[in-house]
Symmetry: C2
Subunit: 430 residues, 2 copies
């Protein structure tokens, strides 16, 4: 039945010819007993279908799947063309919808739209979000591939967490307890040492965090990269700047209609300003009267700092550097003259942290010492420490939260909107 | 220190110039107290380094990380060029190696090479395997992207399994028990119904299988695709044929030296023969005197059938079709005239099943009935069934095991060799 199916977008090329379209009935406008106009939608867009005679008397419910054969004709009432139906086959009739779907935005609360996610994803805004998200991924991989990075897959079932056991989901792994990987951190470092030098991974990460905010879900996609033979965290910030430039350019080119539909504008990036955490806290205190938590920024501070960057440097992006060792993981490299500070950074974008990165310790003895200082047992991390016994180069890396990046690019107010099927403490289905 | 570093492969372009190389010391050949030849390795390959005078008296242990400054010179003894060292900096000295690494194959047993995976991955054969694996992925995505498939990410923490609870790893998800996804099956079908029509996903899948074979690990990478508006499983087999043609062509082009190193040849595919399971069992009985299990093939049968395909059709690939409903999951479409048989298939490649695929049921009532016949409770699958209430198109799809495909392409005798950090019942580290 579908061997001759074509897409709505191709209809204009077939005016005067017999064609077959198949998709979802998005709208039915009944003009009389013998005439109706349907809007048929498929993955390429939509087409108007003119239904005459008896066929017009049996419109299927909205969102039913139909196949329509007919002639492509120049449209009388509007530019473009439409399908003059000669036969309609209802392939799957839809039950009544739980909410009005095809308004400019869906008329239902978050809970209901996520409960009926398959239905709400059919909305043009949601279709656009996930096309942009896929383009981000494609650009991320293309840029890194061209820069000599190898794509890798590391295990998601792990023996120990990267940060000492907090926020881990336990897995019953045969007779043992294992955990879901919070990040590929250890493994990407190990692969640098394994001679690949430059690796990246796109994969799920799992955080058993109790947060219930618009910025957190418990499973998300992490864009991770790690590279060896670097000795300056500036190299990482330069790399991320170029990477984001490239991603934004790709999305602008490939997804212009999606950006327009979503009313989103992507920044032109020349240079992303870099401020130390101390400077950032000072700006927040002086300019906004905001106090910051010890050694960190809070969400309100992240927002204000991005506002400041917009006004001062005309960019919605800002790197925050020189975080204290006390708030960074044990493997973070510290500054040689100021060992209480690290060679790590965060990247804020439109008020939200989207990246953490930095240089790592590459000497075995130093790592063991750093673990002991945190009260971690080196014995539990033997498989990781072993990677530093036979020659590991100086290295560093970063991770970008894909859903956060997508949400900030598109001005979505919740990362869940950039997640097909979000997972949080309340939600395990669909 | 590394800002002027170049790669070994670029050395010939700098003959007569001062350069800096950095990498691992792979070999030290001491010619006298004042002269040594080192082989330095980086991600691009290797270079010979000539060490004169005092520098030659302090060779670091094999696999140490070093940076070497010197002059690129035309090689006296061999074609190409070498580095005449003027300064050597040992960045990370290596401890003694647990086995001889740089023989043609590593001289150690599987257990030891996997225990020291970071080290064994440095072997040129292992580097080559994972470059091929990355190229397979890249080709898979490029082909499907061009064919209108959207890349998606579906949750790995799920409420229920796709097959009724067997072989699931339980996860402690806050106050509840959840499971690790055995496959993105339900979600990719839901996304077809969500209007994306054509989706693919590259992601980890988790199977709590007790098998201890060269074909199984408990976590692997699944290449999944699903598409709507098809009504013939032949469409899926045609698609997979073209997809594999494209993957093999890409790998031949991008990884010719890796294939050579591994002694691997990829088949030219014109057409992949299709035999029904009944025919396959008959061939095995008649030609090889092998009995098959009811409604299936066993590993020995898969091997013999591929041998038969080689001899009869000069191809190492064969589709097996028409599996009985009794051995396929509940969502598999059955044949209208022979409802005890399904519209599903497996693909065998060089003696191993690398794909299962088929048409799926798209009608809600039919799905509910199929679940009840298997003793599954539709209530537990409500989130999945809901996707079939508001118009789901006829659809189907398939999944390819990435490690199995890579292993069969390269003639590796165990899927673990195509897995960076394998997970099985015994192995949770590294």
């Amino acid at each position: 039945m579908f061997s001759k199916r074509m897409l709505c977008q191709d209809l204009p090329a077939y005016v005067g010819k017999e064609v077959c379209l198949a998709g979802w009935v998005q709208q039915v406008r009944q003009v009389g007993r013998q005439l109706a106009f349907w809007v048929l939608r498929d993955r390429s867009g939509w087409a108007q279908v003119v239904i005459n005679g008896e066929l017009a008397q049996n419109a299927p419910p909205i969102e039913s799947v139909v196949a329509i054969t007919g002639q492509a004709v120049a449209s009388r009432s509007q530019q473009g063309c439409e399908l003059q139906a000669s036969a309609v086959s209802v392939i799957a009739a839809a039950a009544e919808l739980p909410f009005e779907l095809h308004q400019e935005v869906i008329r239902a609360g978050d809970e209901q739209t996520f409960n009926h996610r398959v239905l709400s994803l059919r909305h043009s805004r949601n279709q656009a979000i996930f096309r942009v998200k896929a383009a981000v991924l494609q650009a991320f991989r293309a840029y890194l591939g061209a820069a000599g990075f190898l794509e890798v897959q590391t295990p998601k079932i792990v023996a120990t967490g990267t940060e000492g056991g907090a926020e881990l989901f336990p897995v019953q792994y045969f007779e043992r307890t294992a955990y879901l990987a919070q990040s590929p951190q250890f493994y990407k470092q190990m692969l640098v040492s394994a001679g690949f030098e430059r690796v990246f991974e796109v994969g799920p990460v799992f955080r058993a965090e109790l947060y219930d905010t618009s910025r957190h879900t418990n499973e998300f996609t992490s864009l991770d990269l790690e590279l060896g033979f670097i000795d300056d965290e500036g190299t990482l910030m330069d790399l991320e700047t170029k990477l984001l430039q490239d991603i934004f350019t790709t999305v602008r080119e490939q997804c212009s209609s999606e950006l327009e539909l979503l009313g989103a504008t992507l920044p032109q990036i020349e240079y992303i300003p870099r401020v130390t955490l101390a400077e950032a806290q000072n700006i927040l205190a002086t300019e906004y009267g905001q106090a910051s938590p010890e050694g960190n920024l809070d969400p309100a501070g992240e927002k204000s700092l991005c506002q400041y960057a917009e006004q001062k440097w005309a960019t919605p992006l800002v790197f925050v550097t020189d975080y204290p060792a006390a708030v960074r993981p044990f493997y973070t490299r510290t500054q040689s003259h100021t060992p209480e500070l690290t060679r790590s950074f965060d990247l804020l974008f439109r008020g939200l942290e989207i990246t953490t990165g930095g240089l790592r310790i590459h000497q075995h003895a130093e790592l063991v010492q750093a673990m002991r200082m945190r009260g971690l047992d080196p014995e539990a991390y033997k498989f990781y420490l072993q990677a530093f016994t036979h020659g590991a180069p100086p290295h560093g890396g970063l991770a970008i939260g894909l859903e956060r990046l997508t949400a900030r690019m598109l001005g979505l107010d919740n990362v869940r909107q950039a997640t097909l099927f979000p997972r949080d403490r309340q939600r395990l289905v669909p």
